[in-house]
Symmetry: C2
Subunit: 354 residues, 2 copies
Amino acid sequence: MAERINRRIVMAARPEGAPRDGDFRLEETAMPEPGAGELLCRTLYLSLDPYMRGRMSAAKSYAARVELGELMVGGAVSEVLRSRADEFQAGDIVFAYSGWQDYWTAGVQGPRGVQGLRKLDPEIAPISTALGVLGMPGMTAYTGLYNIGQPRAGETLVVAAAAGPVGSLVGQIAKIEGLRVVGVAGSAEKCAYVTGELGFDAGLNHREAGFAEKLAEACPDGIDIYWENVGGAVFEAVLPRLNRFARVPVCGLVAQYNLTEPPPGPNRVPQLMRAVLTDRLLIRGFIVWDFADQEAEFRDTVAGWLRDGRIKYREDVIDGLENAPRAFQGLLEGRNFGKQIIRVAPGPTTQPRV
Amino acid sequence: MAERINRRIVMAARPEGAPRDGDFRLEETAMPEPGAGELLCRTLYLSLDPYMRGRMSAAKSYAARVELGELMVGGAVSEVLRSRADEFQAGDIVFAYSGWQDYWTAGVQGPRGVQGLRKLDPEIAPISTALGVLGMPGMTAYTGLYNIGQPRAGETLVVAAAAGPVGSLVGQIAKIEGLRVVGVAGSAEKCAYVTGELGFDAGLNHREAGFAEKLAEACPDGIDIYWENVGGAVFEAVLPRLNRFARVPVCGLVAQYNLTEPPPGPNRVPQLMRAVLTDRLLIRGFIVWDFADQEAEFRDTVAGWLRDGRIKYREDVIDGLENAPRAFQGLLEGRNFGKQIIRVAPGPTTQPRV
């Protein structure tokens, strides 16, 4: 029975620069059996996120790294096939950091537990949103913007990777709060999306010539909040436009995750620090779990906005676990358009129970 | 009568890199006469501070620049020689941003007023402390440390320019708060001072070979607060030692004020931003007036510590207004040892009244 085979994608080699196919390996093992107090689950949707690049590096990062031969980490939405725990039953839909694989077992708690396990309510929103607008990316946007960005009506916010799951929510919340919002993205199509669909005031393609000049034009009153998702050239263009007391939440640096050595000079650190001093900038890095105590507030608020149609989201769904390595490589190059999701198995309604 | 001549030092040229003698010019004018509602004052002590270098540049800074031919700005302690304002009388000692000159007149308020004018109480502390530990440098240390540094007992603080008026108070307050304090300074003598006189746990000479290694040794638990006064090589050595959630109040960058172009590469900005993200660093620039509402609290608290002998300070006094340009050049190179002050005139007790 083919279904009894579990496919798992492990890290075969640490990437040097951009990850390549050979850095991943698809392995087949037997479908695991749940022990007492455990669940057996089938992955439906796997989330691909830029943070995974950091987990593949030997360098210090904000979370534990993946070791050679280990399962690639990742959040996923799964269906419970069999439950030997009182808190769950077959058919339940759950979120967990269960990794890049078809089937998994885990305890509901304790040493055999899986990180982040929680039951989803399909009535609230499509279950895949647990990976995006109502999940980690959404909470990243919400907590980082309110805690560090501190948006005030009338200010100007610039958000990088504006069409992505974090950036698109950052910009939409800022619009709700009454800010002028300028989105920066990597294609004309994405720029059209953030202005046409999401209601941003401007969308700028950072790959186009004259980007810095266009940014200045789009921000006639300067920039009060710059949401940093990418690093590199976008930040260089933003820096001279930052207003006094501007805030820079540093959420990601996807443009530089694949750097293998520092870029050529001159060294711009003195220039950056001078701007920090002269304009009394606040630059603060964070990850979503720094604000873990705000999870319920985030989910209630954003689910409400979703229900009221004040927030939109977009998913980029690719079929097949075997396509995750390629999709991940594309994500780091900005080839996705919307939250990158791998559909690992068809939805639960069409699935026979094991 | 020689006393009726007012000497003033004006900016003769904008410095390219390090200021030189020719960038300043000593002019002689007639001693001014106070109008109705005005004071005539004689400068006793003139403060020299690194921020003045920024005022001499055409580049945007955090305060208005000095124009060619204009009086050099600066805070000073003066004696009131004649008062035509009810609030003051001859013999009063005042602080004001009255600049590099012997005599000055100003209104007590209104368009002819002078910035920062306030009467000093010689009973509280020596009047020159209004330029240092009880003045702008002291308030910079106090407000920046509490508001941005957020010291917690048991943490490790590293302070650059540790023997200077700001750094020495930062470190002493941190000791009062129960932190481990490592001072970085530019000579063995200054290092001996911060450990021997000020009670810091370690003093490191950044000009010595192996500085980065010694810094690591002196901070076995990493660095939780780095007080940035200088920039450049000290910051580069500190960066890899910063702990998760470390705070970096950016108060000054004296090592780079004289830079005329960005230093050679590689470009370290991506490395810096990566550390910001990975370790969730907070980097925040400020100037003392961002916390202007805390002035009374600062002065009460630090005056109390002074009275109780919990805080020490050191002044580097040079005689003669004509020596201010040279002293200022030395200050930017770290040749001073303690708060740099120019004694413009002997103290009031030996002065005949005009």
